[in-house]
Symmetry: D2
Subunit: 341 residues, 4 copies
């Protein structure tokens, strides 16, 4: 038996740990051949691949990124994409695929299974916004990095009686903001799930200053002020003719400065959150996902995705898996509000 | 209303995060007074306490240890211990207690509730061996530290074609060994749940050397060779008259060296695993435990303990909570065996 | 004998380590009293101070910031500022001062010594731009943090064939950019000491892409493109009426994107570089500075500053110490150019 | 022109950074070929080598260990070793060698130069005990790791009123103990340069307990109690027939426990100190060493070694370089004594 593996979508610590687990278990436990397709769905379309032997996955467990490369190519949006995949798999003698990726990658996996190609999915979203699984790998690493940054910023905030706004990832779901804000002892946490009131934020900030501590405000990149959606859409050009889109972190720091008269600064963590070596938590989760995806292939349980439920790895239908975005529920946000101000 | 909080048993990163959450929620959400009893159950026996205001928990979220101190004092093993506690609580006007600790501390909490004193428990075991909860805080930090050490040791193992044995915590349960071994890419993982065969370990070690990589063997402190329980009990004295008890890590490194003829070294991680700043994961879990313990007190739901189930914090009866040691099940160990050798 | 200590200017990891060393050595080795003046030179002007006993410096060695607070107050710019200081020292019975700070703080220290008040200086500049000393504490920590961020960004750059621009501190001197760029394996390092040619940067970036690796460009916040000084000064307002000043990192990322057609992103590390626990290197250096400053006071060697030369702590005249900005010399920049492209 | 590079002796973070710098500068700046000899001096004896192109050094800057492997082989202790080297270099067309290693490796480098083979040395000693250079790479990483461990142990020491002994590397020189002890806020630092009095150590420990803080004792592996040299030499066998040599850390913890009646534990950091990714400081130093070694080869300045003096990289004669062990001088130890007790 021969299986193929591929990674699609954005960068996420733990991808290589999944690949390694697939290769180790596929070869050592089942005696399969494993080949890696390059650049997401583009690989099985163009035939670009490389054999993955035991040696090829030595030393990748701790590395960020993906040794297979990634892309956002969608075979259903390309003429004859699915037929190309079918031809590649036939030529390579590949019996089944393991596809590691987010909503788009898994959506393709589902349709391919419906079209008769056996695929098992491994969920990947650094934002942790997939309903079918308790957690996804990469999330713990992102929270860890954001928390380390917040820890460092407390010092500067307090030495200079300054408000510091930290913008973290999270366009549609505020999980990274919620967890890093709780872990970092933030004075305010703002998430996309709930538009915030600037006067309320200012009140929390001022209450914090009154207690003689300097506030840290953690804001998800997708959070918006009340009525703010339109405001933030208007980009304009700077002196060099570049279009500037106001990031919410910088915008909020300026608002706070103007309304409180206190110094206020923004730090935008950006891509530092999604690169580098995964945390131990993410390595274990990614490894278990890879091992269990191989089990699903062995069981010919295609059209499924591995998922974490409590401490167990289970399988869920791909059709259910991608149905719904998992956002921060009101009661989890309410938990955090105890620490505001 | 006034509540007391105390910490018992061994050191564990996240204790202060629980205390902070109890204080913040008790004062800010409920308007209660909170006092901290010192040194576990000794505090309510002797009356040693300090008021915990909002200021007293600033700046403790990131700190290891416990600002309340700890002990292994058991009021049921001291004459009149329970009456002393009753008297202290009456004198201090304390209506309920939150007790943070392991099996012993929670066992006392259960009996005190039976004896009419309202206690809510927060579970603490760095070894993660409590059946009633998916995870306990401190465990992720211990795994993180052990994994960082293993990452570093790979280098040395490979540069010198040397076997390295890493002894981690875990007297009765091998969770830290299992998770850090998986995360660190160990060649062999040995746990207390299953006596190991030295010839089998040697075979894995030699297979690893044949692949031209150097083996890392992760061993829980409580793991034993087949028939080894008696062997390890015989301590003898060294040149200074000190009794020497052979740690399993050192013992195993010597066995491997003798049987393979390869250089072999042991590293015993020891107390570095249980001190210092908690990981983001543990800070979030500890904080949520603290918040939910306050809810339980508000609900007068005494004799319960907070626990993690999936992503939810739930309450379980203390009587059930401490009934059973959670050990590594055979199927979780089998997952890891794929990577042996 | 009684001495005072104060910290002035911006935040810098290691300030507390200096204070601790001053207190421990002042009390334990000399039997002096030590008092801490708050908020830089403002403290001795207003009399705001606190006694610094051994207990007050327990547990501060690892903390960022300063337990004394800081300010940019200059007694020579305030009416009667020097007389206020003289009066405070007389009232407090303080015989000499240790002033920890940058160019401004040390400039005041020098003038006060000329005016008959005994001051010893401890140099502090996170940018490492003080000519009289090989290194200053805080610099190694900043380089460490920037390097960790660059390490993480490599992953993302390579997984997505993307150029990443990292903006680090350094308004007038490029030391942090030079060291973190070397340590992080940057493809281009840009410093304030030399205006850069955008076409040259683009050439390096494209050469790097041709080698199939993604480029990381490290740029000091004070670096400028040729002829760029004027361009960057023109701020304009965004949709919210906030003035936007184009940071060089963001500007450069956009230029690279436009000229190469490749995706390009900027990460601005900002205040994360100057907060949090100091590295071991900085703790040792800061501690030795503090100890040696006490020696200088004991020798009544006022008007001097402690400095690192090789592995020795020496004293230099404050008049010489602040004479000259230490910038990156051409030969050090040439060393790094080997790695460009 | 073609040059060879090799690494000898024990593991040390930064070796790969030197190799990378040699390759990048050799190829890009000079247009040379570079080949890597494997396993120290064994490589040029047996002819085992690999070409080092630009690709071969991508991605190695951050890795511990050495991509060339290492050994302790000495051509002057093997029959015809030097002639073998001469033959290999002739066959490979290699004009000069860069040898990265400690006292032994550099001693061979010196003799080979005397025998007409052009060698430039790069000093490597994690213990920092080489007189000719201010610092060597690897040392800062070792101090960093030891300091992180000490930071974590403070928590446990204080929560449990326990003395903790931390054994760090340093057989003949106490630099790692001195720097990590200063950086970690140790209560006692013990080095090989000065035999220690157990009663004095106990006095410091007890004074520390009286101040209500728990003592951390940092001890170099080569430190000895007064009159202790003989005592520690007598090994005996344990129940398994293994010879046990009492490590000084464990021995001292037991002594302290017996003499103070307080709990006392030892942690032996061991090989974790010499593996893994180098600190930014060590990467910069190693990189500069590599670059400057290439300059020395270009200048045909053989028989020299690169060294750090202040912030400059200089060249020193190999004959002088290895003449003397750099131990901790009395005045540096006296600096630290201020913090004892």
């Amino acid at each position: 038996m021969r299986i193929g593996v591929l990674t699609g979508g954005g960068d996420c610590p733990g991808l290589n740990a999944v690949i390694r687990a697939v290769v180790r278990k596929g070869i050592d436990a089942h005696g399969w051949d494993v080949i890696g397709y390059r650049s997401g769905w583009q690989g099985p379309m163009t035939g670009e691949s490389k054999p993955l032997g035991l040696d090829s996955v030595e030393d990748i467990l701790t590395r960020g990124g993906t040794i297979l490369g990634s892309s956002r190519t969608n075979p259903y949006k390309a003429d004859g994409g699915v037929e190309q995949i079918r031809a590649t798999l036939a030529k390579d003698g590949v019996d089944a695929l393991i596809a590691i990726g987010g909503e788009d990658t898994l959506g393709v996996a589902k349709r391919l299974t419906d079209d008769g190609i056996g695929v098992v999915g491994v969920p990947k979203t650094i934002d942790n916004d997939l309903g079918a699984t308790d957690y996804t790998f990469g999330f713990d690493t992102a929270v860890h990095i954001a928390t380390e940054a917040i820890d460092r910023l407390h010092t500067t905030a307090e030495s200079h009686h300054r408000a510091l706004v930290v913008e973290v990832m999270g366009r549609h779901a505020g999980w990274i903001a919620l967890h890093s804000g709780l872990a970092g002892g933030a004075s305010v946490i703002l998430v996309p799930e709930r538009q915030f009131s600037v006067p309320q934020v200012v009140e929390w900030v001022e209450r914090r200053f009154e207690r003689e501590y300097a506030p840290i405000i953690v804001v998800a990149e997708g959070a918006l002020p009340e009525g703010g959606a339109e405001m933030l859409q208007s980009g304009e050009k700077d002196a060099f003719g570049h279009v500037r889109l106001g990031g919410i972190g910088t915008w909020l720091a300026e608002e706070i400065a103007q309304r409180t008269g206190k110094e206020s600064r923004a730090v935008v963590l950006g891509h530092t959150q999604r690169g580098g070596t995964p945390t131990a938590y993410d390595r274990v989760l990614a490894t278990r996902f890879g091992l269990n995806a191989v089990d699903a292939v062995a069981d010919k349980d295609f059209g499924t995705m591995v998922a974490l439920r409590g401490t167990d790895i289970v399988r869920v239908k791909l059709s259910e898996a991608t149905a719904e975005l998992k956002t921060v529920p009101a009661e989890r946000y309410a938990e955090a509000e105890v620490f505001f101000g």
